[in-house]
């Protein structure tokens, strides 16, 4: 393997594992605010306990997000030094802003939320939850701004020595690509949060215990789930897709598996891209739909990969195609499931429909897969560029870090993260098993809290 591939894998592996945690953090932060708000307005102890329970899940998840997040900021320098040197003046800013504006806020109020409930008023405790939510969502914004500049560089000049400088800071933050991606991504985080919450509710009901909490979780999870599942497709996904089609036409052609330019292009629902023959093997196609989705008319011409020199094709074509189709397919399932669940909830039959509860329980891993596949679609679609149209990926990795040194630390991370994944599963299982009831006084005196 070449150094370039290893540095790419290094970043891809660590960021993919990392993002399993923040997507739940950001989604749950919103839902915890909902729980706390109801608790504050009604004075219900049950809703407060529900909020505390999800606070504990949040806390575990947050720590894993923090410890796997620190490597990400380092890896820009350790593994992508040549890229960082040229672009640090631009993307270093939003990355630093994430720390300064969001992490200080989030960590301060999370400490207060988890440890300080007896030291502050109820209103202040609710406020801490809101601040944690705000902190985590601001953090997401700055990361998206960073990525958006690599996807769609705006407001920069290139200096004689090749490095980039920002022209307008405001335009950097308000990059339209970033705004669309932010809406799409945060909705995705809410999908994860609501599926997880609904799944825990379904789990408790299927087990026949903690039914009062289970109903709260299902109600909040399904209502947030149906809203976010619809928003993730329309308008956020739809707009993001049109923007990709406009500014990264080679990426959209590869995502859709469109090798040849077509008027009235059909959409490939399934199939296997064959790079050698330049076609989709065994396709299932719906005529004209792709043209309609992108341009709003069935007769529009959609550019295929044949319009672009082969050295500008995304480098991992089949992977990109599959990632995109998995994301889109799962997104469709989310809407179906959540609309049905919401109807059942409305008719008052959700809590007794065991098949629906089973479907909700078993579906909780799917948003993780969809969010991961979505990010793979965005980042693989950007290839072969590191900064779209300006700097190739092959020009950005650290030239002084050899392939085998990179492989050594990549394998180190894989081993460590396998252990983390195991520990996380055990911890979350214990919390869910223990449930929202307050701890027994006997164990409380032993537990460190």
């Amino acid at each position: 393997m070449t150094a370039e591939i290893i540095h790419r894998l290094h970043f891809a592996f660590t960021i993919t594992f990392h993002y399993l945690f923040p997507q739940l953090t950001m989604g749950l932060a919103l839902l915890i605010v909902v729980l706390k708000t109801v608790a504050l307005r009604t004075g219900s102890e049950t809703w407060d306990r529900a909020a505390r329970f999800w606070g504990r899940i949040f806390a575990i998840n947050f720590v894993f997000g923090v410890v796997t997040g620190i490597p990400m900021e380092f890896e820009f320098g350790t593994n992508w030094a040549r890229f960082s040197r040229l672009s640090g003046g631009v993307i270093g800013q939003p990355l630093a802003m994430e720390g300064v504006f969001s992490f200080f806020l989030e960590s301060a109020f999370l400490g207060l939320f988890l440890y300080g409930e007896r030291r502050i008023s109820k209103l202040m405790h609710w406020f801490s939850a809101v601040m944690v939510f705000l902190g985590s969502w601001i953090s997401g914004f700055f990361i998206i701004v960073t990525d958006a500049w690599m996807q769609h560089p705006v407001s920069y000049t290139r200096m004689p020595d090749g490095h980039f400088e920002v022209i307008s800071f405001w335009q950097l933050l308000m990059n339209p690509w970033g705004l669309l991606q932010y809406m799409h991504n945060m909705t995705g985080a809410v999908v994860t949060g609501s599926f997880v919450m609904a799944a825990v509710g379904a789990f408790y009901l299927l087990e026949g215990r903690r039914e009062d909490y289970a109903r709260i979780f299902l109600k909040v999870g399904v209502i947030a789930g149906v809203i976010s599942s619809i928003l993730i497709i329309f308008p956020t996904g739809d707009l993001a897709g049109k923007y990709v089609a406009q500014y990264q036409p080679a990426a959209i052609a590869a995502m859709e598996g469109l090798f040849r330019t077509e008027t009235g292009a059909g959409i490939v629902l399934m199939g296997q891209p064959n790079e050698e023959t330049g076609q989709i093997d065994n396709p299932i196609v719906v005529n004209d739909v792709l043209s309609f989705l992108i341009y709003g008319t069935t007769k529009a011409e959609v550019k295929g990969l044949d319009q672009f020199p082969q050295d500008q094709w995304p480098t991992a074509l089949p992977l990109l195609f599959y990632a995109y189709h998995i994301m889109a397919g799962l997104g469709t399932w989310f809407v179906l499931l959540m609309v049905v669940a919401a109807l059942l909830l409305w008719r008052g039959r959700l809590f007794t429909s065991r098949w629906a509860l089973w479907a909700l329980l078993l579906s909780f891993p799917l948003p993780y897969i969809a969010n991961t596949a979505g990010w793979m679609t965005a980042e693989l679609g950007r290839q072969p560029w590191l900064i779209y149209g300006l700097m190739r990926t092959s020009e950005g990795f650290s030239s002084t870090v050899s392939a085998s040194n990179g492989l050594f630390t990549l394998i180190g991370f894989m081993g460590l993260y396998a252990l983390l994944g195991l520990l996380f599963t055990v911890l979350i299982y214990r919390e869910i098993d223990h449930g929202p009831e307050p701890k027994q006084p006997a164990t409380e005196s032993v537990a460190a809290d």
Partner: protein
């Protein structure tokens, strides 16, 4: 002017990180030796529970600031110190996770294991941080593009082609280990009560003696390894106030600890860390990373700094953001002031 300003702003972030995360690292090292009962351990860990991850944010915010203000330094140093940085990352992961986990697992052997990992990772981190600073002071063999790649060690000599570890950087690591352990002891004597408080206070004196000796040794070692470190001081003799500050704060630590004024002793320790770091930065200025092979190739402030617009914009949001951040820090610490409450949380 902008260069001077950003140099010191980055230095402020580093000082903030060392002073804040420093005490929870020190508590991590100390709890292995000082704590006798589970209740004491709970109180010890509760004293850092609400703040440790906020303290770690200073590392991220500082790293980010370095990234956009001095992209060349960030790119060169992070890729050149690749191996030790990866080890630091693994240690940070192990440390954070073991601390979190031990609160959820109440089985004796597992807890003992996790506490051990937490203490061990904390100790190694302090050594790595000290060694990292010593590496920067000593210099590295830069190539013409300003890049390098250091092995973990070579012949243990701080010569033209050094490794990450040599006798000089090991001294740096030891200074950090002892200084931050002492820092943690002072924090504990402030935050816990009873026997443990007494033990924390008692451990200060022996640590203090070692720290005084190591401080003196490290000072002369630095002058021996990079004589140019003194240039700024002789050029602006008024800045000899910094080493005087080191001595004064060291004396104050011992004095106030004996007089049972833990808050003052802890603040004196913060000052000691501040003066040591500021002194090192001033010895380096305006160099950011010296070339151990030839001075003409040093990474200097003017060579590494971002463009004027980046820095102007950066300054505007940085000042606002850090003012807010300091506000949160003050707020949180004031909420948790006084002795730590071992059963404070739902957590």
């Amino acid at each position: 002017m902008m260069g001077f300003l950003w140099f010191w702003l980055v230095a402020v972030m580093i000082v903030g990180y060392v002073v804040l995360d420093g005490f929870d690292l020190g508590v991590g090292v100390l709890h292995l030796f000082l704590v006798r009962t589970e209740a004491e351990r709970s109180a010890t860990l509760a004293s850092i529970g609400p703040v440790w991850d906020g303290n770690e944010v200073w590392l991220l915010a500082g790293g980010g600031t370095l990234y956009f203000a001095f992209p060349l330094l960030y790119a060169s140093a992070f890729s050149g110190f690749y191996l030790p940085l990866m080890i630091v990352l693994w240690l940070l992961i192990l440390r954070g996770v073991s601390l979190e986990l031990r609160n959820h697992i109440d089985v004796g052997v597992w807890r003992a294991l996790l506490d051990g990992v937490f203490g061990f990772a904390s100790a190694l981190l302090t050594i790595f941080y000290g060694a990292a600073l010593a590496n920067v002071l000593r210099g590295v063999p830069l190539n013409a593009d300003g890049y390098f790649f250091l092995p973990l060690w070579t012949n243990w000599q701080p010569g033209v082609l050094p490794g990450i570890l040599d006798w000089y950087t090991v001294i740096g690591g030891l200074v950090a280990l002892v200084a931050l352990t002492l820092h943690g002891a002072l924090w504990l004597s402030l935050k816990v009560s009873g026997d443990l408080e007494q033990r924390a206070r008692n451990v200060v004196s022996p640590l203090w003696l070692i720290l005084v000796a190591l401080t003196v040794v490290s000072l002369f070692a630095t002058i021996a390894v990079r004589p140019a470190s003194l240039d700024n001081y002789f050029h602006y003799p008024v800045t000899f106030i910094v080493p005087v500050g080191v001595i004064a704060s060291l004396a104050a630590i011992q004095l106030w600890n004996r007089n049972r004024q833990p808050l003052k002793a802890f603040l004196a320790s913060c000052l000691y860390l501040f003066f040591m770091l500021a002194g090192a930065c001033w010895g380096l200025y305006p160099v950011l990373l010296p070339d151990s092979t030839r001075a003409a190739n040093d990474i200097t402030l003017t060579r590494a700094i971002s463009g004027p617009h980046t820095l102007a914009v950066g300054l505007a949001w940085w000042l606002v953001g850090m003012a807010l951040a300091v506000g949160y820090v003050v707020f949180v610490y004031s909420r948790f002031k006084g002795k730590a409450d071992a059963h404070a949380g739902s957590h």
